[in-house]
Amino acid sequence: MKQALVLRRIGLGALAVALVATLAFVALRTGPLAPIRVTVTSVQEGTLRPAIFGIGTVEARRSWMLGPTVAGRVLNVRVDVGETVKAGQLLAEMDPVDLDQRLAALDAALARAASTRAAAQAQVADAMARRELAALNAQRNQDLAAKNFISPNALENRLQEKASADAALQAAQANLSGTAQDITRQKAERSALQQQRGNVRLLAPADGVVTSRDAEAGSIVVAGQPVLRLIDPASLWVRMRVDQGRSAGLAPGLKASIVLRSQPRTPLQGQVARVELLADAVTEERIAQIAFATPDASASVGELAEVELQLPETASTVLLPNASIQRLQGQTGVWRLSEGKPAFTPVRLGASSLDGRVQVLDGLKAGDSVVVYSQKALAEGARVQVVDALVKTAAGGAP
């Protein structure tokens, strides 16, 4: 009986100790007293290949909008979207309205001008004949008047006739040159009209593909409104937009890897063809054009593309994963472990790569222990427990 009681007491005591121990464990492992679990990395030197990432849309470097230069009605459109056209090919025609009739009228006017000219030539011949007769008569009468066979009055009459005949000839000649000028004017007018007539024919300015057919026969378009749009499919490139803050190093000639939205698994090769001097002030982006290394027939204009530009490798410096970079009261730095306690160390950062590594220009040296991941925000001198990983990941590293 007595022994049983002692046993029970020991059992109860053990139970009490176990309970208190559990409580102590719980209090120290959870809540504010528990250490913050962190993972650390040893700072290492190395090089990284920074890259620029941007998105853009596929555009054609050379594109044309074909439309009339004056308002009018579309007579016919001879090509459709997707058709390949050759330079000079007739693509569409505007309604010439009265241009043909006006041409016929001008032709008639020209013929009439030629007749008028013939009449004027005849008039000149007539005037010349009259003048010759008047000159002979005047000559003869002068001789007679010198011998006083006729009165001076009769001579003056002849002389006046000759002067009149001279004047009549000049008038006829002027008339003739007038008709010649008339013909020139009519011819010029006709060729102007001919030009206008030719202008209603919309010809392909270069080899290309029709991308849109904006008006059909019978519709009225104003001057400058497109009827057809063409692009040169060999001139497709990607108009890429890059955040200004991440565009350092953007220059023509950089090698690019282009991923079209339609083919996410097959990156295409390319090269920066042009970096625009004008940046977008509203979206804070820079704009560059990336040409495909080999023209890709599968790309469609307006398609979204992701572009990655490879920059030259940097010099060897201290590198850190970007997850370890913290911002505290406006300062950039890392939590460095010194004697097991985190201490905030300000650092100066350099280039970064797309896989999340950052150059550290100063503030750290190789071999320093730096906190990468932490369960919660750290504070100076907080209790930490270093573990291998905070969450189980299949790959165990950054993607």
């Binding site: 208190v20 209090a27 998105i55 803050g245 009261q329 406006g330 932490s374 990941t393």
Partner: protein, 397 residues
């Protein structure tokens, strides 16, 4: 002097321990309920802490961005950056929506659009890396259940999860998914393709926007409709040496925007946004505490009543009243202590299983301990009164 209480407990220890465990589970529920309440308030604070901001600049006359919707033009941030005392200012968008995981399942999450390297970015990660590409990368809270490298879908774009973080939640407890600001702006205001097509047709049929004499007008209007340059708030960090109100006042006055300081934002979140649900939980907590107290009192009372014959015997053999009273008190306190320890351990074990955050504060546990012991002591007085009234004759009668 032998311990009467110890003897008695040792006599029927299994009953005692089981009663203590039962009591413990009840206390555990009460502590958990307190934890739920604390967790709710802490969610609100976590939201403020994680944004890393000292000031929130939002649309005039609104209480955004968490409690009300607020919309600012994204170039306002430049004006704010120029104000005295502003060390850093960053645009941010918040948008609660369903995010689709790789397996097609939906997760409710708050999508946060951040400018990388600025405040608003997740302060710490538990795996992976921060966003490095300007588009189509995401950092997700572990509560979303997304894994590193998983492709998640927000509206029409797929995003790769490159980093995981912890305790980044909205005031409603929804886990956050961080994406680049430009993507977020698009996701927030982008409609589905059918809606866009319908809008285009609607605009095209409006003669005001589709004039035959003005080619290009329709295209310009269409382009204007689909672009978005709005954000929900500007997060401001103060330069050293400036007071929050001192910086906030000129922005309110000259920029015609609403500015909240940390204290003002806490007021909005804690006192306004979660006030009703917090009160609901608080009310439940009070009732639970009262019920627990009553049950503790009854248990101790019935425990004493069950021993009435033994007490009568004790009295008969001339035990002093004070000895009997201390025995009952000691047992009551012991029961309370066991109950508290079991409750605390139980609450700690099941707290992480809750879908929303349950915050067990040491201070709450301490208060709980004191309250439990006081209630046990009070309950024992009732039992002591009955015990002392027992007629010693009852032992033989």
């Amino acid at each position: 002097m032998i311990s009467l209480a110890g003897r008695d407990i040792a006599h029927s220890w299994s009953k005692f321990v089981l009663t203590g465990m039962g009591l413990g589970l009840l206390i555990g529920v009460t502590l958990t309920m307190a934890g739920v309440y604390r967790g709710m308030v802490d969610d609100a604070h976590a939201l403020l802490n994680n944004s890393g901001a000292d000031l929130w600049v939002v649309q005039k006359d609104t209480q955004g961005p968490y409690a009300e919707s607020s919309s600012l033009k994204d170039d306002e941030v430049r004006g704010v950056r120029g104000m005295p005392g502003v060390a850093q200012a960053a645009n941010v968008t918040y948008f609660t929506m369903q995010v689709q995981g790789a397996d097609g399942s939906d997760t409710r999450a708050m999508v946060v659009g951040i400018e990388s390297g600025q405040s608003g970015e997740p302060g710490y990660l538990v795996a992976g890396r921060q966003i490095t590409r300007g588009h189509y990368e995401a950092v997700a809270d572990v509560k979303t259940g997304f894994a590193l490298g998983e492709r998640i879908r927000i509206r029409r774009h797929d995003y790769t999860v490159v980093g995981l973080t912890q305790r980044m939640v909205s005031s409603g407890g929804d886990p956050m998914v961080f994406i680049a600001l430009k993507d977020a702006q698009e996701a927030q205001f982008l409609k589905d393709n059918d809606a866009i097509q319908n809008d285009r047709t609607r605009t095209a049929t409006n003669p005001a926007f589709n004039r035959p004499g003005v080619p290009g007008l329709l295209d310009a209007v269409q382009a204007l409709q689909t672009s978005s340059h709005s954000v929900n708030a500007v997060l401001v960090q103060l330069a050293p040496g400036f007071g929050a109100e001192q910086v906030a006042e000129p922005i309110r006055r000259w920029k015609h925007l609403q500015v909240f300081t940390r204290a003002g934002m806490e007021e909005i979140l804690v006192a306004k946004l979660i006030a009703t649900s917090a009160k609901q939980i608080g009310m439940f907590l009070v009732i639970l505490a009262i019920v627990s107290a009553a049950i503790v009192a009854f248990i101790i009372y019935t425990m004493t009543l069950g021993k009435i014959r033994e007490i009568a015997v004790l009295k008969l053999i001339g035990t002093r009243n004070i000895t009997i009273a201390s025995m009952i008190l000691q047992q009551a306190l012991g029961l309370g202590l066991i109950g508290f320890i079991v409750g605390k351990v139980a609450a700690t074990i099941w707290a992480p299983v809750f879908p929303k955050f349950v915050l067990l504060l040491t201070q709450d546990a301490f208060t709980g301990l004191i309250v439990t012991l006081v209630i046990c002591a009070l309950a024992s007085t009732l039992a002591i009164r009955t015990a002392l009234k027992v007629d010693p004759a009852a032992a033989i009668g």
